[in-house]
């Protein structure tokens, strides 16, 4: 089994776990975690694809690496926004405000 395959399988497992978490998690925090695990899995698969797709004779395809980094930044922003929302939600719920 090649390295790339190992990474890809690990990525697939992570993605599976993340998806399971997203489907079953009861609360928002669980979903945020699920999203992150799923995202991690996808990035790992992307890395493996980069390795495998480096058929052009390079040691590794640099484009996916750049894309993965961008993707991680985006996912991080998303997580930050989600957590911020979650905190606001907790605060608002805690204050006992009622909907109009």
């Amino acid at each position: 089994m090649s390295d790339a395959m190992l990474y890809a399988l690990a990525g697939a497992m992570l993605a599976g776990c993340g998806t399971y978490g997203l489907l079953t998690a009861g609360g928002a925090l669980g979903r945020i975690l699920g999203f992150n695990i799923l995202g991690g899995g996808v990035f790992l698969i992307f890395g493996a694809v980069a390795r495998r797709g480096a058929g052009a004779g390079l040691a590794a395809d640099p484009v996916p690496q750049a894309l993965v980094i961008t993707g991680i930044v985006v996912a991080f922003c998303a997580t930050a926004l989600a957590v911020a929302l979650l905190l606001r939600l907790k605060a608002a719920d805690g204050a006992g405000e009622e909907e109009p």
């Binding site: 997203l22 799923l38 996808v42 992307f46 922003c77 929302l85 939600l89 909907e99």
Partner: protein
Amino acid sequence: MSALLVLALTVPLLGLVPLLLAGPRVGERAALAVLAIGAGLCVAVGVAVALSGRALQYFVAGLAPPLGIGLRADGFSAAMMGMSALVLALTAFYAMRAPGAGAPRMPPAFFMLLLALASALNLAFLAQDLFTLYVALELLTFAAVPLVCLDGKPGQLRAAMTYLMFALFGSVLYLLGVVLVYGQFGTLDFARLSAALALAPPGWSFGAALALMSAGLMAKAALFPLHLWLPPAHAGAPPAASAVLSAVVIKAPLFLLVRLWADLAPVPMAQAAAPVLAICGAGAILVCGVVALAQVRLKLLIAYSTAAQIGYLGLMFPLAAGADAYWSALAWTGGTLHLVSHAFSKAAMFMAAGLIAEVFGHDRLAGLKGAARVAPLSIAAFGIGGLSLLGLPPSGGFTAKVMLLTSALQQGAWWIGVVVLAGGLLAGGYVLRLLVLALQRPEDGTLPAARECGWRAGIALALAFGAVALGFLPLAPLGFLSIGRPIAWEGLAP
């Protein structure tokens, strides 16, 4: 000319500077001015595309793909850019506080998000590779989610949370699809992908990639049965925010869905997948349309109507993927026209609903008897916008409906025609419900003393008339939409 594309992306962001540095009053005006300039730029792009008859293209930093990033405006993109920029600019105008009026003031954050939306939308309409589109979609989501919860009420926050998480789920699936495409072709650029696809028939992994991307886009567009987040998010947001969310934000993923299946996917693959999209569309029109009739609050009714109306685009896929060039072009024109006229009429309806709610202090339908007496312009805007949803002439909705019906008829897709007609009936139900109530005589003492804000109702009315004006397009494939696409519609005989 092609520098226009970069300007369309960057100019809206310039408006952030005065919003951050100067006071809110100056900032708001600057934002409005910048959005107006942005609308001018988008219209200029459309004019340039129409005059040259070719797509505008721009490579960032002069680097062509695979290393560089390409921006490209064809007729379809230009139409969507023009529509979204106009709606955004008018919404900003609507959201500016009326001098002396007691309308609630939109925070500066609203204008910042509006500017961010303008830029992200243009990126989604212009970007030429799948990953840049992913970034554009994420930017769009990050700008749209806070719009849902601007007032910070718990209900809004919950709706925003659901929206964000579901959209993120969708975008991860989209990204997975992008990864699969890259693994197979080693490129994400549309033009290079098309060239590669033309050489060899794609394998199952390309189909899987398209499926994943489509599912992700459908989640972001809230196409039935993935519409869980839309009604609470669009109904809970402040009216100006609802207007942009319902009118333009969900149109970007729909636009990309069309791009994927109509421009990128090989025809047999698109034909195979189209029925699934059409069934989702039919489900949206029928289920969400019926549920809209059961709503007791006006904004929820409009939100469900949005969830129902985007179904028409789903119905377009099997028709546009049809074998006959003319009827597929007609269906394509009808679908696009529906997208655009729905944007105008839905923005008008949400704005009108906001003004009505301002006057009455609530938006429960049962309490809106006699609304036409205190908010005549708003009711007129709602009614005229609703005309388009009902598919009555003259309106873009009517023209789009006739195009879809004709195409369905000519291609023997009877069931699609029946769903289009049923959708019109349901739309009649939910649009006329408010109008009938508004025209009734109110019970004594239930009518509020306040009156609608006239000039903001005027903006809603202008948008509604925009939807009406689209009804004057000829009932034939619009050549403009085919500019820069693989197939040209010039000289198509019926």
